[in-house]
């Protein structure tokens, strides 16, 4: 474990930072550590964590996806239309929402890979298209996502079982150890473990890292570079779709909010950088970005319990972000060969 962390300094750093911040938060919290607080925190963090995951994959392949926030908004609007009715309709609606996200990501990938347009421009433009589509679907905020589902997915495991009458309403012995865990966290890490970790261990996943690290070498070695780039954007769309779906379920509405979409995209980049993933690609990972997103959120939790003037919040958030990235930059002062700092 220690060896593994030493090999992943970025992940280790963000883990320590998050653990420290979250521990102090709970020590300062007037009610102390309770399951309710944990569930509330988890609910507020899941969407941004999914968006951070989405941003990470293209960044690893030395790309960028400025449409993640917009795709999240679009899929949220789609979910607000589809996710209701009979259980079968609900499941189908959720699947369609995720497919829509992945499909949008695939289109991004095709524009970048086949069209050879710089990712920053391609996804900036496709993000505008996604917002446009979202506005077409939901000119006004609204929609009715299934209420049971909303309750079940945003509370503890016990509530989930209770809602759907599973495992004796949550009383079964094998549920008890997890009964107080928040469902959103399980969904988040479940997705990461079932989608990202296996993907990382495929040839395509390895090629994502290789492309980000040295594209020419990856090509010369005969690695499936195009496939990797396409999958990177596809996964970004899929994870952004997860964020949109969750947001729609959580708020039980869809809202084509342009400002919110932009904020989520920018925060996703911040989370990725905080997680230690190199913007130049090749180094980092999705799990670290999730922790990066958590750190961003914990900072805003502090505002609540410390009773900071809400007018000061944007300023403090900005300063923390600047300080965090600048702190990482102090490594630059220790580099003794100035050439190593340059492209």
């Amino acid at each position: 474990m220690i060896l593994w962390l030493r090999r992943n300094p970025g992940l280790a750093g963000i883990l320590v930072l998050f653990a420290g911040l979250y521990l102090i938060y709970h020590m300062l919290h007037p009610r102390g550590f309770t399951s309710a607080v944990l569930i509330q925190n988890a609910n507020e963090s899941v969407a941004i964590a999914f968006v951070a995951m989405a941003q990470t994959v293209p960044v690893l392949a030395r790309g960028l996806d400025l449409s993640v926030g917009a795709v999240m908004t679009l899929t949220g609007c789609i979910a607000s239309v589809l996710v209701s009715g009979t259980p079968l309709e609900i499941l189908g609606g959720m699947a369609l929402t995720l497919i829509a996200g992945a499909a949008f990501g695939l289109i991004n990938g095709l524009i970048v890979v086949q069209g050879r347009i710089p990712p920053i421009m391609a996804t900036l433009a496709s993000g505008a298209i996604a917002i446009g589509l979202a506005l077409l679907i939901r000119p006004q905020p609204g929609g009715e996502v299934d209420g049971d589902l909303g309750w079940a997915l945003t509370n503890s495991v016990w509530d989930f079982c209770d809602t759907y009458g599973l495992a004796q309403g949550g009383a079964a012995w094998w549920v008890r150890p997890f009964a107080d865990l928040p469902v959103p966290l399980i969904l988040l890490f479940g997705t990461a473990c079932l989608v990202w970790l296996p993907f990382k261990r495929t040839l395509t996943g390895r090629t994502v890292y290789a492309v980000g690290s040295a594209e020419a070498a990856a090509l010369a070695s005969g690695l499936p570079v195009r496939r990797a780039q396409l999958s990177a954007y596809l996964l970004a769309g899929f994870f952004a779709g997860c964020a949109g779906l969750y947001l729609a379920i959580q708020t039980s509405t869809g809202n084509a909010d342009t400002v919110q979409a932009g904020a989520y995209t920018l925060n996703s980049i911040a989370a990725v950088v905080l997680g230690g993933t190199a913007l130049m690609g090749g180094r980092g990972g999705v799990i670290a970005s999730i922790l990066g997103a958590f750190v961003l959120r914990v900072i805003s939790f502090y505002f609540r319990i410390l009773d900071i003037d809400p007018l000061l919040q944007p300023l403090i958030e900005g300063l923390v972000l600047l300080l965090a990235v600048s702190a990482g930059a102090f490594a630059a002062f220790n580099v003794r060969n100035r050439l190593e700092l340059m492209r």
Binding site: R206, S213, A214, A218, A220, G282, N337
Partner: protein, 507 residues
């Protein structure tokens, strides 16, 4: 009928053009299993294009390729490698951010349940590294943390992992230590006895001579001739390569005279790479930096040019003490310094910019007043630079990337000559350059020295050091371990000094 005589690989009438420029025309070429086949030619002769085609990176415009008697067309490097054709490119094909094991098993990693099996992969990597006597390499280390010579060994292990039938080595040994070169030689012999064919590309004649049993010479995109080793003398081969006679390879040296010292370096140290280095450089002297690759030569040049931070030691340049703090300070000091860096493509040139912009990049102050460029002076300076080094360029407005390697290096040198430097630092300026341009560079170095410029010259080619230098300091582990002067500079002395052995033999 005679299966043994059937070539492993045969190319018939293969041609390739890049935007109207013929890189290969109507080439017929074949090589046989169990043979080590050397490919010789100047830069731009078409060698790289040829091997890229064989390796599936490029597709020919015309002609056919037969592999094991089958007409083949590889759509990608992956297809060629699946057929057993494995290529080690001149520019390393390793992924810096992946581990050694990941790199070695890059294309066909061992899998379990469809996913990459990290443990089996590490074991396979360990086995291959052991075969190359590189047990010191940790398969879990990241390639970016390895030295250039270690990386090249990983590259070789990676090629072996693909179980090649036809192995292509493009300048594969240029960065290796002597010991590793021996290992690779042995390995090639072993592969040959197993029936593997090797195509070997190197600019080092001695290496080709030692390794290959058959040689093919290319010139201007055409296959000139193939013959068995020993069928032609070195002079004949060189003539085939450049299409004319080469008489004197190096310009005559100046008579040894006492030279006033321009620069003295004492106890120079940096980051454990330079460990108390001391020497002096005379006016009008060509001082060579010898030794194995990676003994601090590059760091020394960078330190003198103000690129490195926290360098300790005393340096005095024409009575002024202290190192420059930046390349800008180095080029604008009273005693002007210039550096021709190691990597032409990423450090010497701005490839996408026009030749003109590259030529004046260091001498902008000369053609500008108050930050505003004087167009007439600019044009005159550019024309002068192109003429002075006889750079073969269509228009100064063309991107410098369109030039051949040799002409690109001339642009780098011309850029620095424009500031009228007093001390010129050269970091392996002839690496990967054709013979013709090499000789022009040797001649120019001597002319500059005769004009009173001082030159500090690092080269990985010992023949160059012994042919060009008035004096050579040999570096070992960040220190000067021997100084050779005049007639004492021989290839043998350089080699033994570099290996830090045979004190008596060289004296």
């Amino acid at each position: 009928m005679q299966a043994k005589d059937q070539p492993l690989l045969e190319m018939r009438g293969v041609s390739k053009s890049y935007g109207g420029v013929r890189a290969l025309s109507e080439v017929n070429f074949s090589c046989h299993a169990g043979s080590t086949h050397g490919i010789l030619g100047e830069n731009g002769a078409g060698k790289s294009t040829l091997i890229k085609m064989i390796a599936g990176v490029l597709r020919p415009d015309a002609g056919e390729m037969f592999y094991r008697g089958q007409n083949v067309q590889f759509a990608s490097a992956a297809e060629a490698s699946a057929a057993g054709i494995v290529c080690m490119f001149q520019e390393l094909s390793l992924i810096p951010d992946l581990s050694v094991a990941d790199n070695i098993c890059l294309l066909r990693p061992p899998r379990r349940f469809g996913l990459i099996d990290a443990k089996a992969q590490r074991q396979r990597a360990e086995a291959l590294l052991a075969r190359l006597h590189c047990e010191d390499l940790d398969p879990r280390a990241l390639v970016r943390d390895l030295s250039l010579s270690r990386r090249q060994m990983v590259e070789i292990a990676k090629a072996l992992a693909q179980e090649p039938q036809l192995l292509i080595l493009d300048e594969a040994t240029s960065a290796l230590t002597r010991r590793d070169v021996e290992t690779v030689y042995g390995l090639l012999g072993e592969l040959r006895s197993q029936g593997v064919a090797s195509l070997f590309i190197s600019h080092r004649m001695a290496e080709v001579d030692a390794l290959c049993d058959r040689l093919s010479v290319f010139r201007n995109g055409q296959h000139v001739e193939s013959f068995a080793k020993g069928a032609k003398s070195e002079a004949e081969i060189v003539r085939l390569m450049i299409g004319r006679d080469v008489t004197a390879k190096f310009p005559p040296k100046a008579d040894p005279v006492p030279r006033p010292v321009v620069m003295t370096v004492q106890d120079l140290s940096w980051e454990g790479r330079l460990k108390g280095l001391s020497f002096g450089l005379g006016k009008g002297e060509i001082l060579g930096l010898g030794g194995l690759d990676g003994q601090g030569q590059k760091e020394l040049l960078l330190a003198l040019f103000g690129v490195l931070k926290a360098v300790r030691g005393r340096v005095e340049i024409n009575g002024i003490s202290g190192l420059p703090t930046s390349p800008y300070a180095a080029k604008t000091a009273t005693t002007r310094l210039a550096l021709v860096p190691e990597d032409r493509k990423s450090e010497g040139l701005m490839l996408a910019l026009p030749i003109a912009d590259n030529l004046v990049a260091a001498a902008m102050d000369r053609v500008a007043r108050g930050g505003i460029i004087d167009r007439a002076a600019l044009a005159a300076t550019i024309a002068e630079g192109i003429a002075r080094l006889q750079i073969k360029a269509g228009s100064p407005e063309d991107a410098v990337a369109t030039l051949s390697g040799g002409n690109q290096q001339k642009v780098v040198i011309a850029k620095w000559l424009m500031i009228g430097p007093d001390i010129i630092l050269l970091n392996d300026p002839t690496r990967g350059i054709d013979i013709g341009t090499k000789q022009e560079i040797y001649r120019m170095m001597r002319e500059l020295a005769d004009q009173g410029k001082s030159i500090l010259f690092y080269s990985s080619d010992y023949a160059e050091l012994s042919g060009c230098c008035d004096r050579v300091i040999v570096l070992y582990d960040g220190q000067v371990i021997r100084t050779l002067e005049g007639a004492a500079i021989t290839d043998e002395a350089l080699v033994s000094a570099a290996l830090n052995i045979g004190q008596g033999a060289a004296a």
